[in-house]
Amino acid sequence: MGDKGVFWLPDAMSTFAGEVDALFWFVFWTSTVLFAAVVGAKLYFMFRYKRKDETSVPEPVHESKILEMAWIVVPTVLVLFVFLWGFDVYLRMNTAPPDSYQITVRGKQWAWEFEYAEGVTTFTEMVVPVGRPVKLTMSSSDVLHSFFIPAFRVKQDIVPNRYSSVWFEATQTGEFQIFCTEYCGTTHSGMLAKVRVVSEEDFASWISEQSQDLPPEQLGAQLFAQCTACHAVDGTVKIGPALNGIFGTQQKLSDGTSVLVDENFIRESILNPAVKVAEGFQPIMPAGYSSMTPKQIDGLVAYIKSLK
């Protein structure tokens, strides 16, 4: 991750992350002091008033009204203060500046897709400019997901059939982790991506590079990033079969028959994954990839062909 941070929190890398942390530390230290007082009193009373004489029956303590009021009023004032402070920061976290750079985020089992205002799409990596507010408009094509960047202190659920959004402004360049934090099935823990924060100039040149047409094999390699949660290309068996060196071979299927791995089989496996399932695997590949364009599928076919 590169952003180990201090003992409790990762390094703060967005404009409001520092404010969230200040609040965290305030609650943390206030709680620690009060907790120490409670535990300290408890331990002291335990030993100070330990029963020495079996016949002893202590008299009730006359309760002090002032003390009782104090331990109701003081915590009330403290929590209301913390509530208002949290409310104030929350409002800012909720209100994206109108000039934010827009990225469309799509979550699906079990990959992320980031589409930029210029029409470029990336998968395992979201590239954003430093020092500029970025607003993500997010949707899901299957189940609930949640978009979480610990370094930026942002998180938002992604719900099918409605858009949700989140915004941040990165304060330093670097690479930070993106997690899915709403349980979404078998490979939930593999639904990862990175956010790469670069300078404005690097971002502009990166976008223009991406906008050019790629040759099919490179396009396929780029698209394949969303498949790596389940498919390896180095022979490792994950949730799905490894895809290197399979082109042109006979693939045994779960119904006992076998099929030649050719262009048509790859295309069918992407569009209709449940029809022909490789032997020894579950038919759990999501149907969400059927929305790919013919050009994208050509690219993936070319890439899988090239894998040795």
Binding site: Y49, P58, E59, D142, V159, P160, T186, S189
Partner: protein, 551 residues
Amino acid sequence: MSESASGTINYLSHDKSIKSWLLTLDHKRIGIMYLIAVSLAFLAGGILALLVRIELMAPGETIMSADAYNQAFTLHAVLMIFTFIIPAVPAVMGNFVLPLQIGAKDVAFPRLNLASFYIYVLGALIALGALLVGRVDGGWTFYTPYSTSVGDGILFVTTGVFVMGFSSILTGLNFIVTVHKMRAPGLTWNRLPLFIWSIYATAIVQVLATPVIGITMLLLFLEKFLHIGIFDPALGGDPVLFQHFFWFYSHPAVYIMILPAFGIVSDLMGTFSRHQVSGYKFVALSSVAIAFLGFLVWGHHMFVSGQSATSSVVFSLITYLIGIPTGVKVINWVSTMYKGSVQLKTPMLYAIAFLFTFSIGGFTGIMLGVLAIDIHLHDTYFVVAHFHYVMMGGNVIAALGGLHYWWPKMTGKMFNEKLGKIAAGLVFFGFNLTFFPQFIMGAQGMPRRYYDYLPEFQGYHLLSTYGSWVLGAGLFLILGYLIASLVNGKKAGLNPWGALTLEWTHTTTPPHPHNFLETPIVTRGAYDFHLAKDLFASGEEVSEVVTSTTH
């Protein structure tokens, strides 16, 4: 009844046939049957927890596949929450202790009480039936549309929870009526043991909240069979609506889990400090207030779900209102020991451990209630650690205290005190080692329900897994010496802890099938030890059944 008969007959020995157990209307026997049932559920859920922790010792596959892991953590939570924690204290200790503590012969409706037990068993079996039709997947929260997309497991689980809910409602109803109508003469509301107050508050929640799970189940069925779009976005439904329904039941359910623990801790603090529980009225009435306020905070589980920002703000504010009385209770329990006469027997060790672990659960709850901080911490291990500190560090630790406290009354046998203290230490240390590292890794960003994880989190996961072994060892040790005590335990005296509540002062050990030979007449509050000095004057264990009428 003659004196000699009262010395030999007790509720365990008067009829030992299997039939007399299965068809018993005796609240004490029903309590024992619940104890066996929920202990089995706890054992099964606990073994799953140990397997989950072993899987998480290293990133990637350790002992099971991703699918097996996902079902293991789901089943762990379903067993622990619906078949163990929710019924545990009310149904086991509530049943056994409540009529005894208020000087009644039984609960108000003994047949209904037996029916609730069998309804509970039926519900648990239906929920587990989900395993036969397919998978139980999606976490115990069963958020749609994922949970409804992986087969019909969720329909079985909600039906099972719905049926168990009936058991919960009937038990609650029974307790409410019993407390209102069957208190012994002189046992005014101000003299009630705090355990009764908390079971009473719990019963209110059981009766009012549980029907919501039935509504949710009905809606799921309507969607499944009539294709009316309610939760499923493909039919035009709204998945966030399901979360509202779910938490509208499950947040009050959190108070079904924690309020009885408050009652046990109050009783333990009073008895083992031989002192009035500080702020008695506040502790009693705040339980009832918490029971009602508990209905108004469900949205604090949904700050990042997509509910409106305004809702989130309101839910955050009300969450604090409920936090304050809870915090004040902790102060009251601590100050009960002040100028008391504190005896550190095994049950008291659990009460003291509770003050430590439950306080951490409470303070981290305040942390999670802060809108801006919750966004970062939501759905991470910080939340996992928080609710284990409340559920296990709160409910289970208190329940273990209660079990040790009432064990002599239930069985007539003393457990091994030395092993009891060692086990309490193991449970306390193991629990903290398991769950404290989870706060840190959660704050650093480790999401919950992850089969695989980034290597930098492994150190915390390892500590947590080692902790689970210590915790498991402590719990198995308890199981071992409690069972051993049945065989070779020292015979328990009438009142080994020197308590003042009726189950210790006015009944035999174990109690007579009809509880009391004569109706007790109550002349003092549950913790008015200073009014009962003569009982302790000899310095010996209090060993005489008090019958106020004959003295």
